[in-house]
Symmetry: C2
Subunit: 370 residues, 2 copies
């Protein structure tokens, strides 16, 4: 037999391309472009959709041209639906919108993940219509890693849907666990189901059913550890890595956490102005409270993650600075490179958590990236 040709030397694996919608940020598209340039300086490959005239200068701060070797390629897409009253309708009826074009670039395989600061509604609609749900997924969900002191807890769903059935909550656990594994390096995330009591019988019908199923799944697989029901007080206590809930409750919980934190810190600040001694005390404590603010800084986590589509989408908050958009792009890149979507999909398939439907009714898979 003839000798087989030697294996070609391993090519350095190409980094995934990230499609970024520059419209919608509070500080304007240039802030997003500055974030993209910063990510490109760390080797990221970005397709940046937005008003080219405005973006070119900021994006040029990237060290190399062309997305294939690391860098930012600007695609002129000046139309924005970020301020639309009805983002879902706008996403359907405005094919030239930057968010739609960015999502289509992902659907077409020109990019492997999406980053969009133009609002959750627009990103969700553009993602659903163009990137589409992954096979067997009932409903996408929005996950948010929330830095609490000395810990990060991820909430899923924080508002992609409103109500959730048992099978939705179960899929949220798988998708969120994969996110925590990839983004936070937690090998076997502790998953808690948010409820109005710790007992397995407490909660809505969907929560009680999901509790039983999650317990059974965790017992037979190593994907995650099921900590059972957790109450509101345990969300920020560090008891679990992932909190599973419906989008109605999750959205309320998220905004309560933000609101209560601000209210308490404001009250402390106000107390620190309540008299000369307190004022001096506040002044001396102030630098350390800055450190606390740093520790719970949402920009470091890149924003919210839209899970359940055929590709990952990251939704940084519109008020983020360039630093937050840079983090979002680098996180999206990591999610694509480590095949976050495929990983959670495989775990769900192994545990029978995917929706069983006629093949014809399912959206075709996108070709795998890698």
């Amino acid at each position: 037999m003839g000798q087989r040709p030697p294996t070609p030397p391993a090519q350095p694996q190409q980094r995934p391309v990230i499609a970024v919608d520059a419209n919608g940020a509070d500080r304007g598209p240039r802030e997003v472009a500055a974030g993209a340039a910063a990510a490109a300086r760390r080797g990221a490959r970005v397709l940046l959709f937005g008003p080219a005239a405005e973006l070119a200068q900021a994006a040029d701060r990237a060290p190399t041209a062309g997305p294939l070797r690391g860098g930012v390629e600007v695609v002129d897409a000046p139309v924005s639906i970020a301020k639309s009253e009805d983002p879902a309708r706008a996403a359907r009826s405005t094919p030239e919108a930057s968010i739609v074009r960015a999502a289509r670039a992902v659907a077409a395989g020109e990019a492997q993940a999406l980053v969009c600061a133009g609002g959750t509604g627009a990103a969700l609609a553009a993602g659903l219509f163009n990137i589409r749900r992954a096979n067997g997924i009932y409903r996408p969900a929005l996950a948010l890693p929330l830095p609490v002191p000395a810990h990060t807890v991820t909430l899923i769903d924080v508002g992609a849907g409103a109500e959730a059935r048992r099978e939705h909550l179960v899929q949220f656990a798988f998708m969120g666990a994969a996110l925590v594994q990839v983004m936070l390096g937690v090998r076997r995330p502790r998953v808690g189901l948010l409820s109005n009591g710790e007992e397995a019988t407490r909660g809505s019908a969907a929560v009680v059913e999901a509790h039983a199923e999650l317990r059974a799944i965790a017992a037979r697989s190593g994907t995650f550890e099921f900590a059972g029901n957790i109450e509101g007080g345990q969300v920020v206590s560090g008891a679990v890595d992932l909190v599973v809930t419906d989008g109605f409750t999750g959205n309320i919980a998220l905004k309560l956490i933000e609101g209560v934190s601000q209210t308490v810190l404001s009250a402390v600040r106000q107390r620190a102005r309540s008299g000369p001694l307190a004022r001096l005390g506040g002044a001396l404590l102030l630098p350390s409270l800055g450190g606390l603010r740093q520790q719970i800084d949402p920009e470091r986590q890149g924003g919210a993650y839209l899970l359940g589509l055929r590709r990952l989408a990251v939704i940084p908050h519109g008020r983020f600075s360039a630093r937050g958009f840079e983090a979002a792009i680098l996180r999206a890149e990591r999610g694509a490179a480590e095949d976050l979507v495929g990983r959670s999909h495989a775990a769900m398939a192994a545990q029978g958590a995917l929706r069983r439907a006629p093949v014809s009714a399912q959206a075709a898979s996108l070709p795998e990236f890698g």
Copy 2:
């Protein structure tokens, strides 16, 4: 015509009698008795159910004997179901339990309101089985006035039920508004419906339907002002006086508020130990933070209010001190004296918010007190 006899001189109106279950408090029945004695010193009339041997001494600190002229009358009821695994079952199967005997005293007209520190589950079950739902009420709800800095916001339902339909949420608004009027003196409470977005279309189906009905009711009646949907962040912002939600979400929200407050204050305290300057600052600020803690002290509000029964029940937290039990008794007395139950019932009747059912299926009304 003969002269009519002169109207007899107005009798000083008798103060209502409050039935108090002394079992279940973390610090034991004597702590409740001390609270009852303190309330009696302010003229309250208390029937105190608990272990008489243990209670007599504490209750004797009350100035006058016998409940009719202000004072504490101890009823020997040593059996406690406060630590029961299944309080609902225990309340049905333990007629000699102190909470059941206290509830029966209210049902029999010997007392006009109930105070119980023995846990929400036991109080809810004993109240439902003995005092029973008021005519036309779908489901009782638990309301909690929550002191936030410079404001008090009341949450309803914080956990009497789990899921809630449109008509439940609408009744919660009426019952909570009456509570805010009577207990906090707010003439026309601003009512917000907790949801995952401010738009009238956001939320679960029940929330969307309740939003429409509450808007219509507020437009044609002066009972409350409807502020529309509020998001989680607005719960503690002072935007509304009353937050209406289902018991699942309300319980999670309440425990999140407690947990996040504690976490943030702990983080501030920890920061205040992070270096010599911060330590000095923390020490100087400490007395003022004590004032903040005072301001958000839950004992001042007396605890949670169980609404929707034929008589008012107040559920102070088990960890309260005598001061909290005293507040609970005085609040219960005010609720009875100002006919909180009748007031919200009349408002619901006027707006067609009561359940329409065959009279035979309805529980008979208790005779009015006054």
